[in-house]
Amino acid sequence: MTDTSLRTAAFPASRAIRPIAGAEEWVQRLLIVLLACWLLVVILLPLTVLFRKSMENADGAFIGLANFAAYFRDPALVQSLFNTLTVALITTVITIVLAFGFAYAITRSTIPFRNFFRSIALVPLLAPSLLPGLALVYLFGNQGIFKSWLFGESIYGPIGIVIGEVFFALPHAVMIIVTALSAADQRLYEAAESLRTKPFRIFMTVTLPGCRYGLVSAAFVVFTLAFTDFGVPKVIGGQYNVLATDVYRQVIGQFNFQMGAVVGLLLLAPAVLSFAVDRIVQRKQVALLSARAVPYQPKRRPAIDTVCLALCILVSIFVLSILGMAIFGSLIKFWPYNLTLTLAKYDLSVGGAGGWASLWNSLIMASLVALIGPAVVFGGAYLVEKTKVWPWARMAAHFLAMIPLAVPGLVLGLAYIFFFNAPGNPLGFIYATMAILVVNTVGHFYTVCHLTAVTALKQVDAEFEAVSASLKVPFYKTFWRVTVPVCLPAILDIATYYFINAMTTVSAVIFLYSTDTKLLSIAAVNTDDAGNTAAACAMGTMIVAISAAARLLQLAVARALRTRTQAWRGP
């Protein structure tokens, strides 16, 4: 053998080395292919079918953009596009102003209870988006407590939608802006002060530029949420049509699947745009804070702190009164005539909207999603991030994993109908089962979880795989013995995120449930449709309670985990 290698030395080698793949590499390749297939089936293929559908007539013949032309000829439909833009823009402006003030108070003032206020602002994440709508009915509806505050305007319409969407979008905006404002360098402020800069000028030249990417990102996220949300306008929209309710009506009411697909694609447009902007903006935000920056320490400024405290209290009152009203509404015997408190509305067997079965369905679905989701997401992220095989396949899988962030739930749900209900699809057997709800929900919330997993994996030493290969330990053993334990907090995060979203989601699954798999969130929508707002409130409250319990459980487990692993995680 030495002779051969010496002989090659005589002929300057041009023979390209083709690395031999060991058994492990083949296992990894197989898993990557499986991951890519999964992402194709769960995300890309359904969306492709949706695209096709928008260019077909009722008989399935290709008619190009005729459906789009028909859409824009229909003044009622164009009106709802205009309506959607209006409420989304107003929501964005109000939410960003509130969220910025709130985030500023939390990160840059010395007011007490900052962590408490922050938790309050995140409460809406635990609720299905129809809950603020229900609460607004009680607060400002025809028999609402504060109806007179609207000076004769109706809550059923843009006003109600905007208030509901602000509630729904607030935590998302607060989280993004808090992150942006936290990344501040104390030394910039010290430099500005040593140059005797006026506070307002410091704010304009240091604070705002420092978080401008966060603001842009938050604005796009809020706009997309408000543009595509279904729960709030469904409950409180009244005669004010928006795209999300249009899709629902076209598909569920009129069985006009082609027009549903067209509206679905319109819903997709701003989401895709905001997704692209967000990606660009996030890349820039990263470089802002150098490793040597000194973290900002807020100083006492009595006047500003007072304003901050007032704002925090107001926002908290806003959030808590909406949640509180929904809970209160669920406990009232017969609004507004008999205000006796009762738990009767929590007896799901009465009222016929789905019964206790819908609660069990929701719990089973959310548990399955919380088990399967993290396994698939974390395993997939590991393959993408830590293996070396087939770079193009890993990049493709990563790209596919990013798509769901840009796809509103209604659009994904609609796409699933087209794809899984298509005659001849071998996967059609999961249609109208619990499985399609689980698959859809795992896919729907894939991106955030994937990014969480990738971030966690990036923090793990890059050479673990190389070391275990040199020790002849197969990669899957090291994955199980080292990578998973090290990343357990992130995996727990992902599981909780999945569970809560599976409990609260309405938009995607509303197209996909069957009578046997009706979920609690959908039962709430149907119950409200049937005019039983109080029972819908009870269901919404149940979802909040279960989500909150899941969240508290996660915190407890995370704390226990920290204590148990403190020895090796270090201080």
């Binding site: 290698s5 690395p19 060991g22 030493d461 890059a462 190389a466 070391v467 090796w568």
Partner: protein, 368 residues
Amino acid sequence: MAVGNGRPYLSIRNVNKFFGGFQALKDVSLDVFPGEFVCFLGPSGCGKTTLLRAIAGLDIQDNGSIAQAGTDISALPPSRRDYGIVFQSYALFPNLTVAENIAYGLVNLGRDKAAIRARVAELVALVSLRGQESKYPAQLSGGQQQRVALARAIAMSPGLLLLDEPLSALDARVRINLRGELKHLQRRIGVTTIMVTHDQEEALAVADRIVVMNHGVIEQVGRPDEVYRNPATAFVADFVGHMNFLPATRGDSGVVRVGGVELRADLAGVTASSGGAITVCLRPEDVQVRGLQPQQPNVLQAEITSLEFLGAFCRAELRLGSAEDLGLAADFSINAMRDLDLRIGKMIPVALPPDRLRVFDAEGSAHG
């Protein structure tokens, strides 16, 4: 270690590696002999780590061959090669104890527990970590973590030990202690070892042979004293130790012209013709100031323009009398300073011994 006798343990032949359009390794060939401690030395980006990772199978070369113990391993995945490796980050498994980290590969072999325990105890003693077995890496100092990584790498008695900048994350003092222990340990177990480092002092201290690399090319292979005394290229001369570079022209018959002065020097390997530009190199410690003989060649008058006290010796900046702008650094012992009463502004005779002058063609100069 004996070099050059016997068959090489590792044979690298004409290895090339590209990253996109960048060629990280250019036709690299090298033999490593059994039991040798070899250092890959060079500035960052010189290809030393790339070569190590090619040997490990982590970034396999595009062409060229690598043979280990007579077997061509060029295309094998890492898991089918025979080596232990220590990374700069150590890559210790944070959730496993010291003992579990060291036993990580042994457990997978399915050895019985008593045998594993015995082997771990042996390794723990070898790297002087007795009593730390049940601690986690986060509870150890950097130096201790490095020892755990080393013990883990040699646990399976690999034929080859690969060390990728294993000491550079440590404090200077710990680093010096550990490199001595590393050398000692390597001698004791006799494993063929390759260490990547950018620290020339470290390479000089531990290596049996040094492989100096630059821009993906091996500039020189040799024993530490050879590389230091007899650098093959201007790059090596500059990178290893301190060196004076004097611009010069080639004169006739073994003479070089520096400034206005003619010096005798060994011109072997110089291709410039008479009158051609060359570079004359001399280490500061080779500038002779005591015991000059009357007939001695290459004696010049020099003025001391600055003195820097460096503890054991002084570094002087000299201006060679005949040329205004010709500077030369020279190291003088504290004794010489005192005995000769050396101070700034003093004119002194110095000798530039012909056998210590290294001459290179000017265009090969690594300056700038």
